[in-house]
Structure formats: structure tokens, C-alpha cells
């Protein structure tokens, strides 16, 4: 008798908002941990004085780093907004399916608008620097 095979799971389950927001919460949390390391390096550069800061800051102006900063901002906004959703659940609110679907939509819309606003503001003011 052959060993019982494991039935398909990840590859057959219909992708839904439930799993999407959950995995994004983890991915954004992980991204923010990494961004925090970069942020601390930046603080170290500041604390060591003008010379080290001048050596560090041109890297922040490069496009690859700008894109990483943009992603970190989006991750922060998403993790914050969806984190509020988790806080509401922890207090017992929002478990009805229509509430969970609505809160998911609100999170995505708010994050999209806030991300665009943040990025437009930052790159408009940062580009001339």
C-alpha cells in the first residue's frame, strides 16, 4: 500500500482577500524590521558627525534606494492600517463576514490613498535636495 499522499492545498485554494491581507501583514512586518536596520544605520551616520552623514546621504538620493524607501513607507502604512483591524478583532469587533470584507476594503483604499499622498509629498520635496 502506497503512503497516503497529501492533498493539494496552496495551489488549489481560491485566492481570496482573507489570505491576501494576512500575508501582506507578515510581509510588511518583515520589511519594516529590515527597514529599521537601515534607519538605525542612518542615525549612526548622523551621530558620527557631518563627515559621515555627507558620505551616507548621497546613497539616499539614488533611485534604487528611493524605491526601497517608498516600499518601506507603503509597508508602514499598510502594517499600521491592518494592525488597527487586528486590534479591533482583539477587542471582539468586526468578525461578521460583511464587516471583515468591508474593513479589508477600507484598509486597502486608505493605504493606497495615503501611500500616494506620502510619496508625492516626499519626492516632490526630496527631488530638489
Amino acid at each position: 500500500m502506497a503512503e497516503r499522499p497529501l492533498s493539494p492545498h496552496f495551489t488549489v485554494y481560491r485566492w481570496a482577500y482573507t489570505m491576501t491581507l494576512s500575508i501582506l501583514h507578515r510581509v510588511s512586518g518583515l520589511a519594516l524590521s529590515l527597514a529599521l536596520v537601515a534607519f538605525v544605520l542612518w542615525l549612526v551616520a548622523i551621530s558620527l558627525g557631518p563627515a559621515s552623514y555627507d558620505a551616507f546621504s548621497p546613497a539616499l538620493q539614488s533611485w534604487p534606494v528611493r524605491i526601497l524607501i517608498a516600499l518601506a513607507i507603503i509597508a508602514l502604512l499598510y502594517h499600521f492600517a491592518n494592525g488597527l483591524r487586528h486590534l479591533a478583532w482583539d477587542m471582539g469587533w468586526g468578525f461578521e463576514l460583511r464587516q471583515a470584507r468591508a474593513s479589508a476594503a477600507v484598509v486597502l483604499i486608505v493605504v493606497a490613498i495615503a501611500s500616494i499622498a506620502c510619496l508625492v509629498f516626499l519626492f516632490r520635496h526630496g527631488a530638489g535636495a
Partner: protein
């Protein structure tokens, strides 16, 4: 652990599927793509395609499966009993969502082929029949019976108010079909250690029962990083439940009770 890829023996053999065409003269043909695994063959799982004339078939997915078994291919294995959504036997993954074949109408599946797989991330006994031993053991682990310390009243049953009964009405409606637990990614990755939504909903049902006197022990048994706290409120369970129950809310309520008793 998270393991996205199936083990080699579980991977579907794409070259092996059989095709059963519809009878000539069929007018409304629909294709059912069904996961097949025969433990006696030594072969890997495959997908067979069955073309049915929907004019000659009952409305539900279970009707289609039984038509296949009765008229096309008697080797197809599946569990079924009540055919009215109360036994939970025919739980399976239909077009990507866990549900009961007997209460899911083919018409509600939109157009196109119908894909049918066994409940996800479970050992397959044969075709659509999965091994639910662990699932049942997890149910047993939450001690799904009334536990009392005080002697029963001599002249009557342990009575409940109408309100007290209402608190357990919904969670008692669970039929243990396993649609919720096997829809949960967290359960997929930790099914040995995380109890899963079905068992936790059952735990909640006894925790909030006004007659039960083992609340402390029940909460103690759940206060564990894996048994309870692998729930990350993904909400697949509530989306999947064919009885419109909400295991996620029950789990949230248990987490709140555990937090509340800290102070």
C-alpha cells in the same frame, strides 16, 4: 512548517488523467475535473475529466458526483450520507473553496469546468476521501462533553435560561465537516500542533455553556502558543463554513477570555 510544494508522491501526474466524454446527443455539457488517487495502483494522483449532460443531472455537485459514480466510473470514491447538509460527510474543495457537495448547486459555480479536490492538506485515503484521524483527535482533545463539579439537582435537569441556551445555539450547529480547518493556511502549516477552527469552535461551545463547571481547566488547556494562538484571524474558516458559523469570532472570544483572566 510552511511547505508550499507537495511531497513528490503527492504531486499530480499531469500525463495520467483520463477523459470520459459526454454521451452522444448531450445538450448541455459541463466538464468535471476530479482529483483521483488509487492507493492500490502505486501511481501518483491524477485529474480525470468527466463530461456530463447537465440536462440529465440533478442540480447539486453531489448529484453530479453520484451520476459519475453510478453511470460513468464506479471507481470514484467519495463520502456522502444525508445529502442535505447535516452530516458533513461530503465536504470537499469545489472550484477552490471548501464546502459540502450536497448543498452547492452546480449553477452557482458560474460557467466553465468544475474542479473538485479532496479537503486540502490532508492525507488522501482514496480519491476524495481524506484521513480525518488527526481532525477527530483534536476534537476529542478539547473534551467535548459537559463537565460538572457540583451534584446534579435531585429533582430536575441542569436548567438553562433561554438566553444561556442562545449562546450555544450557533456553535452547537457545527457538523464537524472539516471545511473550516482545512481551509486555514495556519492549520495547513501546523496541523499537528494547532487545534484548528473546528476544534476551537467546539471548545468555545463548552466554555460558554452555563452548565459547564470546568471553565478554568478548559482555558488552561488552550493557553498555548500553538493550540490556540496559531490563529492569525485570516478568516478563511468563516468564509468556508457551509453552516454560516464563525469560528474566527469564537477563537477571538477565547483569546479575550484568556487576556481578561490575567488581571
Amino acid at each position: 512548517m510552511v511547505q508550499l510544494a507537495l511531497p513528490p508522491n503527492a504531486r499530480i501526474d499531469k500525463s495520467a488523467g483520463k477523459h470520459y466524454p459526454a454521451p452522444s446527443g448531450a445538450r448541455r455539457v459541463r466538464t468535471f475535473r476530479i482529483y483521483r488517487f488509487d492507493p492500490a495502483s502505486g501511481q501518483r494522483p491524477r485529474i480525470d475529466r468527466y463530461d456530463l449532460d447537465m440536462e440529465q443531472c440533478g442540480p447539486m455537485v453531489l448529484d453530479a458526483l453520484l451520476k459519475i459514480k453510478n453511470e460513468v466510473d464506479a471507481t470514484l470514491s467519495l463520502r456522502r450520507s444525508c445529502r442535505e447538509g447535516i452530516c458533513g460527510s461530503c465536504a470537499m474543495n469545489i472550484n477552490g473553496v471548501n464546502t459540502l457537495a450536497c448543498t452547492r448547486a452546480c449553477e452557482d459555480l458560474g460557467g466553465g469546468d468544475v474542479s473538485i479536490y479532496p479537503l486540502p492538506h490532508m492525507p488522501v485515503v482514496k480519491d476524495l476521501v481524506t484521513d480525518l484521524t488527526t481532525f477527530y483527535a483534536q476534537y476529542a482533545a478539547i473534551k467535548p462533553w459537559l463537565q460538572t463539579r457540583t451534584p446534579a439537582p435531585p429533582d430536575r435537569e441542569r436548567l438553562q435560561s433561554k438566553h444561556e441556551q442562545q449562546r450555544i445555539d450557533r456553535p452547537s450547529a457545527c457538523i464537524l465537516c472539516a471545511c473550516c480547518s482545512t481551509s486555514c493556511p495556519s492549520y495547513w502549516w501546523n496541523s499537528e500542533r494547532y487545534l484548528g477552527p473546528a476544534a476551537l469552535l467546539a471548545a468555545y461551545r463548552w466554555i460558554v455553556d452555563s452548565r459547564d463547571e470546568a471553565l478554568g481547566e478548559r482555558l488552561d488547556a488552550l493557553e498555548d502558543p500553538f493550540r490556540l494562538y496559531r490563529c492569525h484571524t485570516i478568516m478563511n474558516c468563516a468564509e468556508a463554513c457551509p453552516k454560516d458559523l464563525n469560528p474566527a469570532r469564537a477563537i477571538g472570544a477565547i483569546k479575550q477570555m484568556l487576556a481578561d483572566r490575567q488581571h
